[in-house]
Amino acid sequence: MDFTFMVVLVIALALFFDFTNGFHDTANAMATPIATGAIKPKTAVGIAAVLNLVGAFLSTEVAKTISGGIIKEGHGGISITPELIFAGLLGAVLWNLITWLRGLPSSSSHALFGGLIGAVIVGTWGFSAVNFSVVLSKVILPAILAPAIAGGVAYLCTRLAYAMTRRTHPDSGDKLVQKRGGFRYGQVFSSSLVALAHGTNDAQKTMGVITLVLISAGAQHAGTGPQLWVIGACALAIAGGTYAGGWRIIRTLGSGLTDVKPAQGFAAETSTAAAILASSHLGFALSTTHVASGSVVGSGLGRTGSTVRWGAIGKISLGWLFTLPASAVVGGLAALLSSKEHGLGTVGLIIGAVLGLAAIIFIFVVSQRDVVDHSNAISEVDIVGGAVRIPSRKERERLAAKARAMEKAATKAAAKEGQR
């Protein structure tokens, strides 16, 4: 009785995590087409929700990575309990909500892994239960490499898109009307593709956790994939979160978006979707936020005359680095509280659950009371977009004029030098 209650509690918390994941990430996919006016906000959020739902059913490779590999489960390995997974999830949910409230850039995926790893290390009182080589090869390395890959590809694609659509008069070399309006409609599709990719990667993480719970409770054999009802429940939770959170964010979004032009946005989103889909297929559980951010920076660099604000990128990266250890600490504390040998056992678990619930309610109340402004409503990816400075046309002309003047002065000086 007590045992099954625990399993139900963990599944409920996991689905809540999935929900927060959905509303954390809607704007990543849909903010740009809404800002350029290609789709109406309500339609955009609806499309994103449906595609997340579909994406969740497409591939379950990422779910298998989480349920069978990172933590040594089942016979022979060290058995982990639903209590530990509960503690890990608590860490992930709290970190996710705190960062969302403060508008800090963070990754739901890293919060989840951090929470689970922290809970397992504390709960089993040792490092042997965590498969660190799998963590390194399937979580940490993809977290670093995937944004870099997506950024590089986005850079090339932006260059390609602008080069192919640049129209100049064949004789005079003057610029013709560029007519790049087609990219605005293209963005409807590229954003949809990002939403679909989000479903194939992020919804899988919760599936993996629930499957892990079922395995640890003995309701499912180790090494098997997620069951159909698990897939369905997770898909619905992330779609619901996408719809609910997206609506809330977009209502307050206004015109706070960074200057992303349709052609650039199309290139960035296509690169993001391609990188996430390819990684999902190989079971890499990466952060969709990080990949989308990498693409936005890459595509910004691909535009003429842009410069990078390395300081801004450094700040964002620092936030990324903190996520995993911070949620590991929260997950570890929750696990310590509920540990039978070192903590308070079941009483500790109840205390942890009540504290967690109180914190969630507190965060919700604060978020309602706060005026939702750009600092917490705007998508993290758009904040990253601010890291690339693209001069306006006027500034570019001024820079070019300055360069010409400098050149003239240099030739004059050279000529003078020659006269002497």
């Binding site: 497409l58 591939s59 379950t60 490779e61 080589s133 390194l136 090869s137 390395l141 993809p142 490499l145 995937a146 890959i149 997506a150 590809v153 986005a154 090339l156 694609c157 390609l160 898109a161 192919m164 659509t165 129209r167 009307v177 560029q178 007519k179 790049r180 087609g182 990219f183 293209g186 599709f189 593709l193 679909l196 194939t200 052609a263 199309f266 290139a267 296509t270 690169s271 391609a274 990188a275 889909l277 390819a278 990684s279 999902s280 297929h281 190989l282 890499f284």
Partner: protein, 74 residues
Amino acid sequence: MIDWLAFLAVAVATLVGAVVVVGLYSLGVRLYAVSIDGNVPATRAAKFSAYACFAACALTVLYGIYLIIPAFHH
């Protein structure tokens, strides 16, 4: 232990997929721009080619999604 080949596969798949899709779509946008210039005799051919590019782009995306769905490859 670390499967570098898998990372290479992700990088190549991302590059090829994105470049093909963006390239085709850009070509379509370019051709469509030519087709609405008006004073060129090749207007209709350009319009047709533009639509062909958009269609090819859509098919590429669908093929990519087909590739990653395990249910189709049993």
